[in-house]
Structures are given as C-alpha cells and as structure tokens.
C-alpha cells in the first residue's frame, strides 16, 4: 500500500505537467480573460453601460418631465429641446431616454423569463426524450409555425397595454429559441460518460440535470439569453410602433417611433433619435453575445 503512493510521486504519471500547474485557475477565470480581450465586445459593454446610465441620469438633469406639456409644439431640435418636441409639446430628449429605459427593462425581463421557461422545458425534453420530448417539441413547433406576431398583436390588444404584460407576452413567444438550444444540449450530454457515472453514483435525475448537465450548458444559454435582449427590443418596438404595445403616456422606443411617423414630412430627424437608440442597444447586445460565444468556446481563440 505504501509503495503505491510513493511510487506515484515519482512515477511517469505526468502529474507535474508544467501546463497543468500553470493553468491552476478555473474555467470561469479563463472565460473572463478571453472576454475582456475581445475588443468589440468590451467596446459594446462600455457603450451599453453608458447608455443605460444615461437612461437613468438624463431625466434627472433635464428641466422637463417626460409627460410635461410645454408651449413649444412640434419643434425641430434646438438648444432648449435638443431632440425637439412632439405635437402636444413634450420634450423628446427626456422622453427618448425614459423610453429607452422602459424598453431595455422590458427586454431584460423578457430575456430572463424566456430563458427560465426555455431552459426548464428544453431540459426536460432533451433529458427525458420520449413522450415528454414529443409534447414539448410539438408546442415549440406550434409557436414557431404560427404567425407569432399576429397572435401577439391580438393578445396585446387584450392584455398588452402595460409594459410588464407586454414583456410576458413576448417571453411566451421567445422562450422557444432557448428551448430548442437547451433541448439539443441536453440530448448531446445525456449519454455522456460523466452523466452515466453520476447515475452509477446513485444520483437522481433532477440532480443530474441541475448539477451535472446544466453547468455544461450554461455557455450557450448565456449567449442565447444575451441575443434575446436584442430581439426583444426590436419586437417591443415593432408592437409599439403598430400602436398595440405599451400605451399612453408611458414612452418606449417603439411608440416614440410610432408618434414620430406623423411628423416624418415636417421633422424627419425626430424618428432618428429613438430609432438610433434602439439600433445602438441591439448592436451592443449582439456584439456582447458574440464576445461571450467566443469566450465560452473551450477551444478558446481570441476573436
């Protein structure tokens, strides 16, 4: 017995591989290192953080309230109103920033809720297969093939006038994207040796799913979750643009664009501000998603 241990200390086990000793740091640390070296993604993070900070700070500094009526109606950008004013004299700068804040909060909520639902159902479908998979996959396919936007509009008419109700409706449609990804990941991992080993150790299914497979699937889920924020911003804008999303007096990027279309002939620049903010958020979020995807790839090169 003693010789086993002393043997192995000097044995040709490669146990003192220099690379192994040097890389004595966690996977999370490596991912972080790769991410901060991803220039585009880091730039996107900076822009997004500044943008979100401004959604919060700008209204505090502005002399106007977002629903305050000023005597200046339908104005082009000026020093007093850098983004101009709308038909009833509300300052568009403060409305754009407040609207951006609402939009991004809705989008983040959509992304979180959709990820929770998608991960839960996708995991069940992928892990158990059989009739569980059949039922869940049929629901996913149904959501994918029906004209989701049309359904969304009908639902929005009935329940969608508040920002949080709209978020729930969007999440109810967007979870299928996460669901499909997670299902695939669980299918590919459920036969893995380490899963079999966990079963041989007496672990129950819920534990195997939560402790053994989910940590292996976190990367793609985080990426998909990030990209969903972008999708949700666009979808929210679309619905609100069509006049069926969040209702008066709460501004969102979508209904600001909607209101601006009335002035497209007189003050065409008005549409650029909320539109630009929406594009900027979406771009940032997509770049961050790309950066995460590269960083989480175990093969790991820098982008």
């Amino acid at each position: 017995m003693t010789d086993v241990r002393s043997d192995s200390l000097v044995g040709g086990d490669g146990l003192l591989q220099p690379s192994a000793v040097q890389e004595a740091r966690g996977f999370g640390r490596q991912v972080w290192d790769r991410f901060v070296h991803h220039r585009v993604a880091m730039a996107a993070v900076v822009v997004l953080v500044l943008l979100i900070a401004s959604f919060w700070v700008a209204p505090l500094l502005s002399p106007f309230e977002f629903d305050e009526l000023t005597p200046d109606l339908r104005q082009a950008p000026s020093w007093a109103h850098p983004f101009g004013t709308d038909e009833i004299g509300r300052d568009l700068l403060v409305r754009t920033f407040i609207g951006g804040g609402f939009s991004i909060r809705i989008a983040v909520l959509v992304s979180i809720v959709a990820t929770l639902i998608g991960t839960l159902l996708g995991a069940l479908a992928g892990y158990f297969g059989g009739w569980v998979d059949a039922v869940i996959s049929q629901v996913v396919n149904l959501v994918l093939v029906i004209p989701a936007l049309a359904i969304l509009l009908v639902l929005a008419l009935r329940w969608g006038s508040g920002p949080w109700a709209l978020a729930m409706i969007l999440a109810a449609l967007l979870w299928v994207r996460i669901g499909r990804v997670v299902r695939g990941l669980f299918i590919s991992h459920r036969e893995a040796d380490f899963v079999e080993a966990a079963r041989a150790a007496g672990a129950r299914s819920s534990r195997i799913m939560l402790r053994h497979i989910l940590p292996n699937a976190v990367g793609p889920i985080v990426v998909e979750m990030t990209l969903l924020v972008g999708t949700a911003i666009i979808l929210e804008s679309t619905v609100s643009f069509l006049g069926l999303g969040v209702q008066f007096p709460i501004p969102t990027l979508g209904n600001l664009i909607n209101e601006a279309k009335g002035a497209i002939d007189t003050v065409p620049s008005r549409i650029l501000f909320p539109g630009g903010v929406a594009v900027l958020i979406t771009l940032c979020v997509n770049f961050i998603g790309d950066g995460l995807r590269d960083a989480l790839d175990p093969a790991g090169g820098h982008a």
Binding site: S8, D13, L15, A20, A24, A200
Partner: protein, 352 residues
C-alpha cells in the same frame, strides 16, 4: 499504510454477508429490440462474486461483458429486456424499485469507467465530484465530506491533495483523473466495485500503476472487484478467478492460475495465444483467432464460437455445448474438452 477509518458509514451488519457470495447472477439474459432485429447481448449467464475477491471478466467487444455490468448496476436502457436474477447479498436487484436501486448504486456497488477524461464532469472540480458522491450516501456536512475527500485522494496516491482538490479534471493528467475516479468509486466503501476496462484509455506506462492503486485500495477497503477487460495479461496479475465470455455467454470460468495453466476452452486458448510474446522473434507473425466475432443478431447455431474454432465438428454446428466441470471450480462450455486439454498443455508451457 493509511489507516482505514474504523467507523463505517452504515451498520456493521451490512458486512455480514454470511458465508455465501455477495453477488450471484442467475440465468441472466439481456435483449435489445432494434430495427434490424433482436440483439441478444447476454444469454443465460450465471456467475458469482465472493466477498473481497477479484473476478476478471475477459472477452472481445460484443461478448456481453459490459452489458452484464450495466445490468448489475441497473443502468441498461429502458427498452432492454432483462430476464433472470441478480442477487446481491440475497436481494434480487432486478426486482428493486428505482429509489431502492439508487441507494444501492454508489454505496453498495460502484463503477469505474473506461475513460477518466470523460467520466469526470469537465466543469466541476474533482473535489466537488468526490464530495457529491460522499454526501449522496453518508450523512456528513460539507466540511467533513471535504476532509473525507482529501483522505480518499491520499489513499489513491494523489500527491498534494490540498492543492489538487480544487482543480478541474482538465488540469490533471489521465492517470491522476483515473485515480480520482477510483477514489469516487470507493468513497462509500462499497461491497462490490465494477471496473469496465479501467486502463484501456490510459497510457501503457500508467496502466500498471493504476491497476496497482485499484487492487491495493480494493483490498484495503475490502470490496470485491469485478474487472472487465479484453486484456488477459491484465487479468493474469490481479484476478483471483477469471471468466471468459464470448457471444453473450460464459465460455469458461476458473481460478486464475488454472485458466493460464490448463485452459479448457478453444476460445480461451485462442486468447492466450494472441498475447504477444517477448521470447518470440519479430519474424513470427502475431497469432490471431481467425474470423470476426459474430453479430449479436445472427448468432451461429450450436456453439457460437464454432465458425472460428479449430476443434469444431458437426456436433458443434447444431448443438449448443453445456457447461462442463473440468476441475475444482473450473467450468468450460465445449463439446471437445478432452482434445482441448491435450492441446492446452502446449500453450501452458510458457504462461504469459
């Protein structure tokens, strides 16, 4: 010699396995329905494992050795059809419900897998995986389980366990990972450890070390070991008894020395002769059993080995041979044991 802790995580009565074998497999058959037809993976297999012994199970791919192991663990896919009985200390494991079976796995019977690099979860530290196994079956808090994990790592010969315990599998070498896998397998002092090709995925230079760790730890913990391999040489040094499988059946079973000295089955002889020998010149071509292992769907009639057997007669083509006693605790499944024994003397001249 690191002392085995005297206090056991379960009542000592569990160790009173009486005089009988701890595991008794009776007429086990496993079939998988597939699109091409019914796969007879294991047919009418019976054997036993005595407390603390090392049983070597040898055979080519598709001989049913791994399926037998999975059947004992209750890890066969749902669609498989299992008949027979697997008595573990008197209880039929096939009759246990899922919850009861989960308590058996990892605590009374545990398993060592072939490839340590894939059998360990890549995103969890080795310490967490050890602690998980310990806490699944023993009532210990995190701290106690961690201390236990460190002792286990020491037991399987991992240097500087304090540093290694928080590392990830990819930071350890293959041999170190397999030691962790062994530590996990013996964490709860199981009565039986099933090792399925435990060294196949390892560098040849490490194989001997890992085997040594495995058998010494097994002896120290007092578990029986069922060593599944295709390598007769591996079995020669470690097993107390050897069981040779072919085409889903046991062809021969005997104490290890008898198998090598007086193998009484043409298939065993073929395997023995296939071992490369150092005392032969490089000019001599390596021996191989002619033909290929049979498909598990269309097994030959009669003796499954007859198309590849030098001793085969017309009888072998039509009539499946019975298990025949050859010596003390030595059984062989062949119609022509007398002729085979005469031939085996020649091979036995120089055992591997």
């Amino acid at each position: 010699m690191s002392a085995v802790r005297p206090e056991l995580p379960y009542p000592a009565s569990r160790w009173d396995s009486g005089d009988g074998p701890i595991l008794q497999v009776e007429n086990l058959s496993v079939e998988f329905p597939t699109r091409e037809g019914l796969v007879h993976a294991v047919e009418d297999v019976s054997f036993r494992v005595e407390p603390g012994e090392v049983l070597g199970v040898v055979g080519e791919s598709g001989s049913g050795k791994s399926v037998t192991a999975l059947a004992i663990m209750g890890l066969l896919p749902k669609r498989s059809r299992v008949r027979g009985a697997i008595r573990f200390r008197g209880r039929d494991l096939l009759a246990l419900d899922r919850t009861a079976m989960r308590d058996v796995r990892g605590r009374e019977i545990s398993m060592i897998f072939q490839d340590p690099m894939t059998a360990l979860n890549p995103v969890l530290t080795v310490g967490r995986q050890l602690v998980e196994m310990i806490r699944r079956h023993q009532d210990l808090d995190r701290q106690e389980a961690r201390r236990e994990a460190l002792e286990l790592m020491d037991l399987v010969g991992i240097p500087a366990p304090q540093r290694r315990i928080d590392q990830f599998p990819h930071e350890l070498s293959g041999g170190m990972c397999q030691r962790i896998v062994i530590a996990i397998a013996i964490a709860n002092r199981p009565l039986l450890v099933i090792a399925d090709e435990p060294t196949t995925a390892l560098d040849v230079t490490i194989q001997a070390q890992v085997m040594e760790v495995m058998t010494s730890v097994q002896a120290e913990v007092g578990s029986a070991l069922m060593l599944i391999t295709h390598d007769l040489g591996l079995v020669a040094g470690t097993a107390d008894r050897v069981q040779v499988m072919y085409g889903g059946r046991i062809m021969e079973t005997a104490p290890a020395n008898s198998i090598f000295a007086e193998g009484a089955n043409p298939y065993t002889l073929g395997l023995l002769r296939s071992l490369p020998r150092l005392d032969e010149s490089g000019e001599t071509p390596l021996f191989s059993i002619r033909g290929a292992p049979p498909s598990a769907i269309l097994r030959p009639e009669g003796c499954a080995f007859h198309p590849r057997c030098d001793y085969a007669t017309d009888q072998c083509v039509v009539e499946p041979p019975p298990m025949v006693a050859v010596g003390a605790d030595h059984l062989s499944r062949c119609h022509h044991i007398d002729r085979v024994l005469a031939g085996s003397a020649a091979v036995a001249e120089s055992p591997p």
